[in-house]
């Protein structure tokens, strides 16, 4: 109780301590400076990174507990390569053992059932109650229901595979059962959605796979958006040239119905039939954000968490001490694993400095990078570095802005594997 008051007082006068950070840099034993309890909810890219870096940078005084119901995490990055048989789900599975053994993060295999923002406590499905000084929520995304009709068995075939796992395996099996005269339909929801280039990449690698293994096939992209949402130049080339005759791109296709019995999709751009329908539903923040009942989902449409990108603290004034990271938060940055890792470092640094009574960094920077397969052997990339803009209080692209590679090539293909390995190591080990 005393400590909590102390921390609040420090928070209120944080600016007054701004000189401390530089004066003590490199001299202060971290355990003497940063002392506090942090509960992190969600063991994806954002939650795992923030738990690691709170301990790595904050030292032994940081009491960090990660709450995650699953024993391991399956990477969404590279999961399109599971569809084409180039990777297995087990190769994309990471666990929390290094987080525990090397960084001393406590891991609770449980879910959060309620949050008490006044008493600063979270209740878990295991029955445990955890007290916190700071709570970091990173529950990723959930989906709106699809306008789906049909028998239960047929409806089960309509998958999104947008959270890597059993649906990925189902979609892979459905693709394998296709013949060269069959059509694969991919529906893309209105932005924002997780991994902006991801659906277009999926269309490319599935088209390439059908061409290579079936001798042909059709891929129809039904995009609810008016245009390609990321890496426009490279995907335009892929659709019009590399995968010409296989991929058909249909913009402005808002879905009104999907019939799983007739395997047809009714949209504002027409009705389309396919052998396989891969429907990615409209996104919203993880259920914890939209169903907590404490006002975490305070974006304009009530689907996302608005945050201060200096620390990822909720902008809801009644939620002091709660931070929301990664895909659940509403920022100008893309929803993706690589940048979630960067957001986590900004958040970890801010929390440590708040605990130390210092000031938080006023010009944070983050970056988004992804390698995008266009075929089995050629890869493009998309990257941007974001800098905090004090005028708009948002993260805006710096330098050359959002930049995509000049086409796809095999050199990028090699780099892609180094990127993935190092990104996952920076997050999980």
């Amino acid at each position: 109780m005393k400590r909590r008051l102390f921390l609040q007082n420090i928070g209120a006068t944080a600016i007054g301590f701004s000189f401390l950070h530089s004066a003590m840099a490199g001299q202060l034993a971290a355990s003497a400076g940063a002392v506090g309890r942090v509960v992190v909810v969600g063991g994806g890219m954002a939650g795992t990174s923030v738990a690691k870096y709170l301990r790595f940078w904050g030292g032994a005084g940081m009491d960090v507990t990660l709450v995650e119901p699953n024993a391991s995490y399956i990477s969404n990055i590279f999961s399109n390569m599971v569809l084409t048989g180039e990777r297995t789900l087990s190769q994309l599975t990471f666990n929390y053992s290094t987080l525990k053994s090397k960084y001393g993060v406590k891991v609770q295999n449980s879910s959060v059932t309620s949050i008490d923002p006044v008493g600063k406590k979270v209740k878990l499905s295991s029955g445990t109650t955890l007290s916190y000084d700071r709570l970091v929520l990173a529950p990723g995304i959930d989906f709106e229901a699809l306008p789906l009709s049909g028998t239960t068995a047929n409806k089960a075939k309509i998958v999104h595979a947008w959270k890597a796992g059993t649906q990925t395996t189902s979609l892979k099996n459905q693709i394998n059962a296709m013949s060269k005269s069959d059509t694969f339909i991919l529906t893309i929801p209105p932005s924002p959605f997780r991994c902006p280039p991801g659906p277009y990449e999926r269309a490319c690698v599935v088209a390439d796979h059908l061409k290579r293994t079936k001798g042909g096939g059709k891929v129809i992209i039904l995009d609810a958006n008016p245009k390609i949402q990321a890496a426009v130049q490279n995907f335009t080339t892929a659709f019009n040239s590399t995968h010409k005759g296989i991929i058909t791109y249909v913009p402005n296709a808002t879905i009104s119905a999907i019939n799983a019995d007739t395997m047809s999709v009714v949209t504002s751009a027409g009705t389309f039939k396919g052998k396989v329908i891969n429907a990615i539903p409209i996104h919203k923040a993880g259920n914890l954000i939209t169903q907590s009942g404490i006002g975490l989902n305070n974006s304009a449409n009530g689907k996302w968490a608005s945050v201060d990108v200096l620390s990822y603290a909720s902008t809801n004034p009644s939620l002091a001490g709660i931070h929301i990271l990664g895909d659940s938060s509403s920022t100008t940055q893309p929803k993706a694993g690589h940048i979630a890792n960067a957001e986590a470092k900004v958040c970890a640094d801010a929390i440590i400095n708040i605990f130390k009574g210092g000031t938080i960094l006023q010009v944070p920077m983050t970056n988004s990078s992804c390698f995008i397969p266009i075929t089995k052997t050629t890869v493009s990339w998309l990257t941007a570095v974001y800098r905090y803009d004090p005028a708009t209080k948002t993260m805006i692209p710096a330098g050359n802005g959002v930049t995509e590679s000049n086409g796809a090539n095999s050199e990028n293909y090699e780099d892609m594997f180094k990127w993935f390995k190092n990104l996952m190591a920076d997050t999980f080990s």
Partner: protein, 126 residues
Amino acid sequence: MKKKSFKATSIGALFLVSVSLFSCKDDMMPPEKPDNSIADSELSLKAANIDLPGRVLASNCFQCHGTNGYAGELKIGEQSASSIIGDMNEMKSKNPGANIMNVHARAYTPEEIKIIANYISKQIKY
């Protein structure tokens, strides 16, 4: 000076640990479980070492170049600050669409690049 000897000690200790793990495989020593855990005091010491200005900026490098710059491939750790600054300046002149590092190098001011380079040059493998 202090940091160097600490680094040398850590590498030495790691070497000894790995030697002992391999050598005791078949002899009569009591079985020892490989233990990656780090004592809290050691964690504090390392955390203190990395508590320098610029860690958030520098950590933008870690996703591709490894935590503290020590990836297996694409490692940038153990470079001097001036060498990192030189590399970043060289990247600034490349074609952005042909070189992903150009986009990253151009996003930072010369002062920020100095801070990043200084930070990374002082880090140890973790």
